[in-house]
């Protein structure tokens, strides 16, 4: 197959990924954080469009009004703006101007496109590392990771961070070929930084890898003493220069909040995350909201949230790598391992916030998928080597396709049972969603499951134009968007927060997480009953309860 054809395969897989994500996200509820990012993305996009149209200039006042402010979370300044800006621009184009998508779908498209890029980059990395079969399989396995697919459909940062992290890794690996202007690696790292602060971990991986490759370089082998150190550090110095210069410059360029007082604003940004509050997170039967956390959270959670067949194949692939059967210029396997280690390593410390679970160490997933593809293809070829001696090439191909197809089928089935409540899903090793519940694993977060009870609430409520107050719990931030999407009528009103909101309400929902049990009890106190009228389940596991105030029969609210 020609190089052009191989590239086309990669791009085709990327397009398929975007389509799959956009189809999958249609039934996914609106995440609490997503509302914030969409809202601020609109503001950021307006500011940039206004600047381009010369409607305003660049002033500290206008930037502060849009991107900053005195408090740590003013205008969402605790998160860099790249994806939010893209959410806003997409919404402007697809929803406001062209009218081809609702505002949530439009805002989610950039994340989906980023996931397509992730599939493409994984494909390209595996193609250069191992071959076409490995590349196709690695791309498909990445696409069919249930949790990653879920996150890729949200207007949030986690899936895009994985993309830009791994794109930086890929660009860095290619930049080691000695090219004169390795600008791509610096720019991509800058974009990763402009997406999420976790990109700051990436230099640990790249730095160690750079030293390893430098140590192995001909110049270092030939040098001695101080000259050896210089040879190691300077063997591809332009790559380091690109990261050191273009990374921060790119971050600076896309984040107007850094255009004045950049040092203090960067300090504030990082300080926010270094002292981030520990949200509640259930793990192995216990609610965790303060360190020290178990060192194995990331490992066990990954073990239960990546399809089992993919993990098994990755173990085989790891063995193949350790046995030295796959080598490449520039130590690509070491690079993959370091990339995953830098992403997941901080969560072994016991002090890093764990509340987001797998979404926080998603950049480790490309390594797992590439390892799985390498392992599966190696296993297929090894099996064919004995059994198809006469038509070895064709026989090997058939066996490789068969093994790969089994892996893909396993992942596809997991995706099928996981969506749209993938945060409640656990893999077959855990026993699925009910197995995860038995193990005391986290049920969900961000309130996305509330979307599943909207039809029930509409059915229970007074018919418009009469109004009904609903205690919306963790779906409160998304309520106005649900109304604008016409998933609920405007007469289904958010009753407000906590006990006062419950006391005002005729209907109430509780989105089940362990630390949210208290909302059940607040409702019991107000409604005088412990009996929900409806319980939404995923894989049989309760995820949202609906309560109707006794005596309320859909009559009008005074």
């Amino acid at each position: 197959m020609s190089r052009r054809a191989r590239l086309l395969v990669g791009w085709a897989l990327a397009v398929v990924a975007v389509v799959v994500v956009m189809i999958d996200q249609r039934d996914v509820g609106i995440a609490r954080d997503e509302v914030v990012y969409i809202q601020h993305g609109e503001h950021y996009a307006s500011w940039w469009l206004g600047l381009v149209r010369l409607e305003h200039g660049v002033s500290a006042a206008s930037i502060t009004q849009t991107f900053g402010g005195p408090s740590a979370t003013d205008n969402n300044r605790e998160h860099p703006p790249l994806m939010k800006t893209l959410f806003g621009l997409s919404e402007r184009l697809l929803h406001d101007r062209l009218g081809v998508a609702d505002e949530v779908t439009a805002a989610r498209l950039p994340s989906a496109m980023m996931h397509g890029v992730a599939v493409l980059v994984v494909y390209l990395f595996a193609l250069e590392l191992a071959g076409l079969a490995e590349a196709i399989l690695a791309a498909l396995l990445l696409l069919l990771l249930p949790r990653a697919l879920f996150h890729a459909g949200l207007a949030c940062f986690d899936a895009p961070t994985m993309t830009l992290w791994f794109a930086t890794v890929y660009a860095y690996g290619r930049a080691l070929d000695g090219r004169a202007w390795p600008w791509q690696v610096g720019v991509l790292w800058g974009l990763a930084l402009a997406t999420k602060h976790t990109a700051l971990l990436l230099p640990f991986a790249l730095g160690v890898h750079y030293l390893v490759v430098g140590w192995r370089s001909d110049a270092a082998r030939a040098a001695h003493g101080a000259g050896k150190l210089g040879a190691i550090l300077g063997h591809r110095w332009r790559v380091i220069a690109s990261l050191a210069v273009l990374g921060p410059v790119t971050l600076y360029a896309v984040w107007p909040w850094l255009w004045f007082a950049p040092v203090s604003h960067v300090r504030d940004w990082l300080a926010f995350h270094l002292s981030h509050v520990h949200y509640n997170y259930e793990y192995l039967g216990r609610n965790w909201n303060a360190p020290r956390f178990p060192w194995h959270v990331a490992l066990v959670t990954t073990l239960f949230t990546v399809p089992v067949a993919t993990l098994a194949a990755a173990a085989v692939g790891g063995g193949v790598w350790i046995a030295g059967r796959v080598r490449g210029a520039g130590a690509p396997v070491v690079l993959l391992a370091l990339s995953a280690a830098a992403s997941i390593g901080p969560f072994l410390l016991g002090t890093t916030p764990i509340f987001g679970a797998e979404k926080h160490w998603m950049p480790a997933l490309p390594t797992i998928c590439i390892a799985a593809a390498v392992g599966a293809v190696w296993a297929g070829r090894a099996a064919a080597g004995r059994r198809a001696s006469e038509a070895r090439g064709r026989g090997a191909g058939i066996v490789v396709i068969a093994v790969g197809a089994c892996l893909v089928a396993a992942s596809a089935v997991e995706v099928g049972v996981a969506e749209p409540y993938a945060l409640t899903w656990y893999n077959a090793l855990a026993g699925g969603a009910p197995g995860g519940a038995d193990l005391g694993m986290n049920r969900q977060f961000w309130g996305v499951a509330a979307r599943g009870v909207l039809p029930e609430l509409v059915a229970e409520a007074a018919a418009p134009p009469r109004s009904t107050y609903v205690y919306t719990h963790d779906a409160a931030p998304a309520w106005a968007l649900y109304q604008r999407l016409q998933l609920i009528p405007g007469t289904l009103l958010d009753a407000g927060w906590e006990q006062a909101g419950i006391d005002r309400s005729q209907l109430a929902i509780v989105i089940h997480e362990r630390h949210f049990n208290r909302h059940d009890y607040l409702i019991w106190r107000s409604y005088g009953t412990v009996q929900p009228s409806f319980v939404l389940r995923a894989g049989g596991v309760p995820i949202v309860s609906v309560y109707r105030r006794p005596g309320y029969g859909g009559e009008a609210v005074p």
């Binding site: 004995r386 066996v399 077959a428 509780v510 049990n517 009996q531 894989g539 049989g540």
Partner: protein, 256 residues
């Protein structure tokens, strides 16, 4: 041997295809729960306790039978005062409230197992929740609350002592039986997160400490108990905390 890795991967993938689909349908649905509920309703007597296992299926159980579970029962101190207990369970789970008991009847409804337990209930002669109006306090007065303690509901007396200044809450003429049993914990998950120190409770009778307990932020609903001489007496609960905003939640029953 070269074929083993491929066979293993194919076998694991095939198992996952089957297991994932099976797991997704492994939890009994509404029809099974309705059938189980009908059995409970047919044999239900007022005052029976209904519990569900595992804990995570509790909302589904309450949806079916919640009208037979008063709020006070759902937020009970413990299950000792209930002589008849219905346990509806799935996936082989058992409720902590039926631990050590043998069912007098058991029937399965497509995966929902209904077990009935019968035993001699504890006879409660005095309950501090019912005698709050008679209590005196050396500081803040406790309030009757339905609180989250250890992620479970509990009706309790809730109060926040000043840091380092133990609060003495006295119940004069509390009818006592042979045993005083109680529980203490810290209400509210968010204050438990933000303030990590434990709270202490001691029970005094006639100036002597009968029982004591320490409840940490991850300890949940901590039991204490002591033998008591039958008859009315002043019982003092001494509550202490080293930090502010420790929402101490306690309940106690005098049992015959």
């Amino acid at each position: 041997m070269a074929i083993v890795p491929a066979l293993l991967l194919v076998a694991i993938a095939a198992w996952e295809v089957c297991a994932a689909r099976r797991d997704a349908g492994a939890v009994p649905g509404d029809a099974a729960w309705r059938a189980a509920g009908l059995q409970v309703r047919a044999g239900y007597q007022p005052g029976d306790l209904i519990v569900f296992a595992p804990d995570w299926v509790d909302p589904v159980g309450r949806m079916q039978l919640g009208d037979l579970i008063p709020v006070a029962m759902a937020a009970r101190m413990d299950a000792a005062r209930y002589g008849r207990i219905w346990e509806l369970s799935i996936r082989g789970a058992r409720s902590a409230d039926t631990a050590g008991l043998a069912p007098v009847a058991s029937e399965d409804h497509d995966g929902v197992t209904v077990r009935r337990f019968e035993r001699a209930p504890a006879v409660v002669v005095g309950d501090v929740l019912e005698r709050l109006a008679t209590a005196t306090s050396t500081g803040a007065r406790p309030a009757l609350a339905l609180a989250e303690v250890g992620f479970a509901p509990h009706r309790c007396l809730q109060v926040s002592p000043a840091p380092g200044a133990p609060l003495r809450i006295a119940f004069p003429q509390l009818p006592l039986g042979r045993e005083l049993v109680g529980y203490v914990g810290i209400a509210d998950v968010f204050t438990r997160r933000d303030v990590r120190s434990p709270v202490r409770l001691a029970v005094e009778l006639g100036g002597k400490i009968l029982a004591s307990a320490v409840a940490g932020v991850d300890d949940g609903w901590v039991r204490f108990a002591a033998a008591t001489p039958p008859g009315p007496a002043e019982v003092v609960f001494v509550l202490g905390a080293t930090d502010r905003d420790r929402r101490i939640c306690f309940a106690a029953e005098a049992r015959q």
